[in-house]
Symmetry: C2
């Protein structure tokens, strides 16, 4: 191999500000609206759930927001993360492309999620919150928040979708090791949970139900706040530490990406890597391409519509303008649980509408094929979500080979698959299948979109 | 926190030679002996199992052995590994000690094991071996060798103890993802396996049986060699990359350890960190202390005797002089499966006899208590084996506090616990218990020690 595999930054080179893309957008984001009245939200409407610092970040006009020192200090446990040149993957593909990946799997929780869990815990702590409550499906977000709360001495309560609680006991153990309380949802602890259990005592739960339980607990106790792991502007903001580091790392090797790739569920890991490079496109017209990769089983960007919708299934959250499949859409049970969300971050959605981001969708069989190729060339086992980004990077590199044109590709290696090996088992045993929803399914779910007053 | 958490080396600073401690020992190691005749072994006796390069390394008189470039190139996927200052752990303990850990869990296989799996695969490849066969218990070694064989285009067959094969399906999936064939042992594929299955079709298997199956397969096919993950001199040699890096990293921060700590099963991760620092003690009389930490459930150093014994249960391997509990000793079923070995590396044993290494033993309850403290302060989840080293480091730091005397402590963070969360579950549920063998058990197993001719 010719150069260094890993492009490292020292802790002294850790970026000290997050990048807020809002001031660089073609037009201001559509405001979030009240779920009952449909009117634009005031900061006070959100204060029952979030600390004021995060509410302000949600709509900040500042381009750069300083990262508080106590947050940097926790980041330094695993950050800066390596930018890695995938020489062995390039060689296996015989491509003239240079493939890089930003390895976010090196955090103790195994993914990019702690990048926002840590500041969310910090801002809550300094505003006097005693406890954070959240929901988790596959468990990546729940474990990140458990770890973050542990570092700042906050209690943490996680409503974990019951079927995952039973099927993924090791993610639950991870959260408990970091001191969190994990409750299978639906639970008898909330009115929302009790209502579901009355109808069906054996309900396997869903992310929508778990969100309702978490929001109910947060809203009913002034010392408790709610925490969300994706979608919202402040979450995407915190993730930009990924791309800010990558900018410095590319400068060290004298390259700049032609193509930036990430998988999208709620949109935060993609935005975290992409937005700092998007700045060059928005401010200076750099021709960098941005590819957001979603599963065919939950195709909000490629088959959904751009409209106001609820963030949750029950309809308790604010209305946000985003690509959505409808809040009642139930995606097929694919292994990439972190990508099974009916909506998409409003900032990512707006950049798709304005043509700055290209969405693509893949079936999970071709995605696992790429994951295994990656594991056998680069060594590391990708999470099923991350494997979507790997697939798109491989295809882009193969296109470079066909066209005989080199290019620099970077993708976000958002997490490892150590807690997802059952998915690999199912791939190797040949039982893995692709899921694609018939058009009727999607049209039916879209009928439930809420009505909102015409925009000003 | 005051300084940098992670002391990093660039890939250019990766050491290019392993350290062979043999020339620096007080006296030459006792020679391995033939299992049937008891006479010292010739290199040819081993050639059916190992490539000549490894047989030569086993008894090399050279102090430094250059690392081949193709091995360095694979090492660079994850090496140099970080040396980390455990500021948060120090703070939680209120100790004046500086605690460092060498983080070997960052390899794709999650432990230090690839440090020797990679050169073993390489030397076999260049000498024409087509396939490597080995045994694995908990799965750390099997996954490391699977990954290494994959990189050098060798086939890999792993006999996995049947009870682990069934209880740890995810370790098995990991090996399959890297392309290995995994067979539950005892299997009908070997005479040894068939003999066991005839007596007991439901045998859960054991490491001793799996070794016998692997050795049988290797001995019966000229294109197949056998590979061992600990105990032997060449395995310890390859692991010294850990300590050689750590020496450079301590030089960068201007400190030098007073105490070096590692857990011991076969002894390789301990030796890998310790031997390069032991050089300063042997050559210049530096007063560094070395602590080898074993489980009370398998106390070969603290309760075994120093004598010739077989490396396996069945009695097929050469006789080596080491601390042993007897090859028929069956350690209790603790979670640290990697430490359940009746013997100990001959080089580690000899250094214990000559007073250069202090052995200590812990019960698993106090070990998991330290593991959880570590996870809650430093973030990372230790493997149950690694947790033994954490416990000893914590106790050493508390001793520094009691005595009011600062000291520099370093321990080997040999692996993460992502595939061992069931052990944490059992700790949190209160079902974890300590195991300590009554003296009769140990005396009975020691009665089976083989007779060897008096030493020359």
């Amino acid at each position: 191999m010719t150069g260094e595999h890993k492009i490292l930054l020292s802790e002294r080179e850790l970026p000290t500000a997050w990048y807020n893309i809002i001031p660089d957008l073609d037009r201001p984001p559509a405001p979030p609206r009240h779920p009952a009245t449909g009117k634009p939200l005031s900061p006070e409407d959100l204060a029952v759930l979030f600390p004021m610092a995060l509410i302000q970040q949600e709509a900040s006009p500042e381009r750069f927001i300083p990262i508080p020192e106590p947050v940097l200090d926790v980041y330094r446990i695993w950050r800066p993360t390596p930018l890695v040149r995938a020489y062995r993957l390039e060689q296996a593909l015989g491509t003239p492309a240079h493939i890089y990946y930003k390895n976010e799997s090196v955090s103790p929780a195994g993914s990019h999620k702690p990048n926002t869990a840590v500041p969310q815990a910090y801002y809550n702590k300094i505003e006097g919150t005693k406890r954070l409550v959240t929901e988790t499906g596959a468990g990546q977000w729940g474990s990140a928040l458990s770890m973050a709360c542990n570092f700042f001495g906050l209690e943490c309560k996680v409503f974990m979708v019951k079927v995952s609680y039973q099927q993924k006991p090791y993610r639950r153990s991870l959260m408990q090791t970091w001191g969190a309380t994990v409750v299978p949802s639906p639970s008898p602890e909330t009115a929302a949970g009790r209502a579901i259990l009355e109808k069906d005592p054996n309900s396997p739960g869903s992310l929508g139900i778990a969100i309702s339980e978490a929001v109910e607990v947060a809203a009913s106790d002034p010392a408790t706040h709610y925490s969300l792991g994706s979608v919202l502007n402040h979450v995407l903001l915190h993730q930009t530490i990924i791309g800010e580091e990558a900018l410095k790392q590319f400068a060290l090797v004298g390259e700049y990406p032609d193509v930036v790739i990430g998988c999208v569920g709620g949109g935060s890991n993609f935005a975290g890597l992409a937005f700092p490079f998007m700045r060059g496109r928005l401010q200076e017209g750099r021709p960098t391409r941005f590819i957001a990769v979603e599963p065919k089983a939950c195709p909000s960007l490629t088959r959904g519509i751009y409209a106001y919708d609820f963030g949750d299934t029950v309809g308790l959250t604010p209305l946000v303008k985003m690509h959505t499949l409808g809040h009642n859409f139930v995606p097929s049970g694919i292994h990439a649980g972190g990508l099974r969300y009916h909506g998409m971050a409003p900032l990512v959605s707006q950049l798709v509408v304005s043509g700055h981001i290209e969405p693509v969708a893949y079936g999970q069989v071709e995605v696992f094929e790429a994951a295994v190729l990656f594991a056998r060339t680069e060594g590391i086992i990708p999470a099923p979500e991350t494997a979507h980004a790997v697939r798109a990077a491989v295809d882009e590199a193969l296109r470079a080979k066909e066209e005989g044109k080199p290019r620099v590709i970077v993708f976000n290696f958002s997490g490892h698959g150590h807690f997802d090996m059952a998915a690999y088992d199912s791939y190797f045993s040949g039982t893995l299948v692709n899921h694609e929803h018939p058009q009727e399914d999607i049209m039916r779910a879209l009928e439930d979109l809420p009505k909102v007053p015409a925009e000003a």
